[in-house]
């Protein structure tokens, strides 16, 4: 039976969850025996080259590109996992929710105390740029998500136990210390 295919992406996350995936340290070699990586920032595959079994999403959706990548993952992956607080509840970026997005742009490019250089008040405006959403959306409010691994970042052992259980079908017994929201 061919190895299950895994893909990962980081949307509006800080890449800390991917760092936590890599914190499984030497077990990454075991992981390469169990699974085959497809589209992911930690290898060179940039587009889905085959149907993927497990898609791991870090980060919520803060701009339009995040939404498109997330929908692309939903289309290509059988199972989607929300990894970390940002994917599950918007995380730290969601602290801007409720604040009009114009105020965030204004503070960063025009009104901020360290923005004297931007005399011509230039704002990021190019068709290639992703468009900022009105607020940060958790992934499961945009596409159907199958599993959730909380934490900021989720502990490496939690990711490891969950992945192995998912791949091998063994029952998942998560020790109390591993499920954390911080």
């Amino acid at each position: 039976m061919s190895k299950p295919v895994i893909a990962t992406t980081s949307l509006a996350g800080c890449f800390g969850c991917h760092m936590s995936i890599l914190d499984i340290d030497e077990r990454i070699l075991q992981l390469f025996d169990l699974v085959e990586f497809n589209k992911s920032p930690i290898d060179d595959i940039k587009k889905f080259t085959k149907p993927v079994d497990i898609g791991i999403i870090e980060g919520g959706c803060c701009n339009s590109e995040n939404v498109e990548v997330l929908k692309d993952f939903r289309k290509n992956c059988k199972i989607l996992i929300s990894l970390g607080e940002c994917a599950i509840m918007g995380g730290l970026p969601a602290l801007r929710n409720g604040i009009p997005v114009e105020e965030c742009l204004h503070e960063a490019y025009i009104g901020g105390p360290t923005v004297q250089l931007n005399t011509k008040h230039i704002l990021p405006n190019d068709d290639e740029l992703p468009m900022l959403l009105d607020k940060v959306y958790p992934c499961h409010e945009i596409v159907k998500i199958d599993y959730y691994l909380p934490g900021c970042p989720p502990r490496a052992d939690l990711i490891w136990d969950a992945l192995v259980a998912l791949i091998t079908g063994d029952p998942l017994k998560l020790p109390y210390e591993l499920i954390k929201f911080d």
Binding site: A12, C14, F15, K46, L95, C104, E128, L132
Partner: protein, 133 residues
């Protein structure tokens, strides 16, 4: 009509990135762009939070260099609470900060070498063929 090549996401690095190469009709590159476009609005939504929460908030600017942002915020707090006049910061405190920062360098370099670039050097066969990149 100009032609464009998009490399997305930029891989084998820690963090997000996209490259677009813009060419004119006969294939000459007239502009190349590196896109790091993660605008979050920290400058605005940090306002109104208790100041001692700043280090814990801003360390989540980046998952690879959280310590750097944490220390930057800590130094800003030094000024606020008056510990920032050099001798105000105890030697141990200063050494703790350096140790934390070295820890991050060490972790980041090890990670980049062993996880991200070693496949090219050690397991050449498994490195993905250029056609798929």
């Amino acid at each position: 009509m100009s032609k464009k090549i998009t490399i997305e996401p930029v891989t084998r690095v820690e963090g997000h990135g996209k490259v677009t190469i813009h060419m004119d009709n006969n294939g000459n590159v007239y502009q190349t762009r590196l896109h790091i476009v993660e605008f979050r609005g920290f400058e605005r939504f940090v306002q109104g939070r208790p100041y001692w929460e700043a280090p814990v908030l801003v360390q989540r600017l980046c998952g690879i260099c959280p310590v750097s942002h944490h220390l930057a915020a800590a130094k800003a707090l030094d000024v606020i609470v008056g510990a920032g006049t050099g001798e105000g910061l105890t030697p141990t405190g200063e050494k703790m900060r350096r140790l934390m920062h070295y820890g991050q360098f060490f972790q980041s370099h090890a990670l980049h070498f062993f996880h991200l670039s070693s496949p090219d050097f050690l397991l050449v066969s498994t490195a993905t063929p250029p056609s798929e990149t």
